[in-house]
Symmetry: C2
Subunit: 230 residues, 2 copies
Amino acid sequence: MPDPSVARAGFPVSRQVLADHVYEALLEWLMDGRLEPGAAVSIDGMARELDVSPTPVREALARLEHTGMVRRVALKGYRVAPVFTREDFAELMEARLSIEPVNARLACSRMTPDGLEALKKAVEDLKTAPRGGTFAEYRSYLEADERFHQLIAAQANNQFLLAAYNTLGGQIQRFRLFGGVGITDAEQAIAEHQAVLEAMLSGDPERAAEMMVDHVEKVRGRAMADAPED
Amino acid sequence: MPDPSVARAGFPVSRQVLADHVYEALLEWLMDGRLEPGAAVSIDGMARELDVSPTPVREALARLEHTGMVRRVALKGYRVAPVFTREDFAELMEARLSIEPVNARLACSRMTPDGLEALKKAVEDLKTAPRGGTFAEYRSYLEADERFHQLIAAQANNQFLLAAYNTLGGQIQRFRLFGGVGITDAEQAIAEHQAVLEAMLSGDPERAAEMMVDHVEKVRGRAMADAPED
DNA sequence: ACGCCCGCGTTCCTATAGGATTTGTGGCAT
DNA sequence: ATGCCACAAATCCTATAGGAACGCGGGCGT
């Protein structure tokens, strides 16, 4: 997290306002589990917590609403979105299967050298990331996972598909955290990511799409098997 | 200082807050063309215009940002998103081709009787809508067009795909208004919509998807031919 | 004339105040 | 004990004030 107050050599990097910081903080807390699903997110309370006035908090929450991670009820306030049900998860995977293979196909055709390097690094990070039992230990693993998919969406070079993926991406990441399952499938998941990457490297868009379908379907299969709860 | 409880006497329980009304008003203005692409949207100015304080306006704009219809630059304010370039349009159509056929396929499988009736009515409204030269005259046509696609997305019965479509839908509607082309293709477009509807009626998901692909591709083709500007 | 500087208005941004609404609690009647 | 109402605290929501930055136009020096 770069500190915006420290500008580089006279270059005032795109200055951020307080609401942006609040947005980032809330997003991080949501992803960290510090804000549990279903919990109320009081505007005044958050303002006290972050030592700012309620105004920027209100703006940040308004922006967060569209991510689906918080829900608003008029005159009642915001709450963290409830835990995914089995149906929610099935819908999310269905949506991924509609969008991500397309992203993979396009990204394969339009991939830049830099993008390819970043993708390689993401897979490498997946392999080397610690995979302990606590959240802090596999946080970097989840981050690399999300980064891999995000990079492909970005390399598809379509602002609308990227926006569509990003709205899903937050939910996917949130599920990775709260879905109930830890990391029990790292080896297989890494192999699937590797397969997508190799298809990219060989410049075969159709195969890249197929490998992505395969990956998402297997993620769905594993999660559905691991978490039979409701 | 208008008293809401008196002013809204006709609305028994207006469980909406001021920011919601501002949001609706701004959305309508954006869709009406009263706010032209590229124009600055001053928070204070809008507050004066709508006779409210800047606070609700700020919140409404924060929510509008994710629709892509307004863009924000920190410490500089909001501007109406610029006109679509040819490239933007191509990307939008590419995104539609990724999502809408999937929606059509799923909607065909999961369609409710009520949904089917609403879909029939949308096509009927398309046929009977006036198609004059001015905006007011073909507004209802565009509304029915958008409603048709929105209904299919809703009937797909997947909250994430619906959200993904909705972010596109606003842009699509905005392009219909500002794309530069009026309605020169109504007969063909209606026939294509009819074809999708008939596939739905016959309960053939694959054909519904194919017809949707066909429709979007032809929309793209006509628009690219009609608006060779840039 | 041309460029520079400075004041002025506009706008964004945040904090604060106060009214309106909801929620939780305790007491009272049934 | 249970249901209902009043009261209090917390919260949401809107308005307003003022600081900071940006844009602009006029005046001054070269």
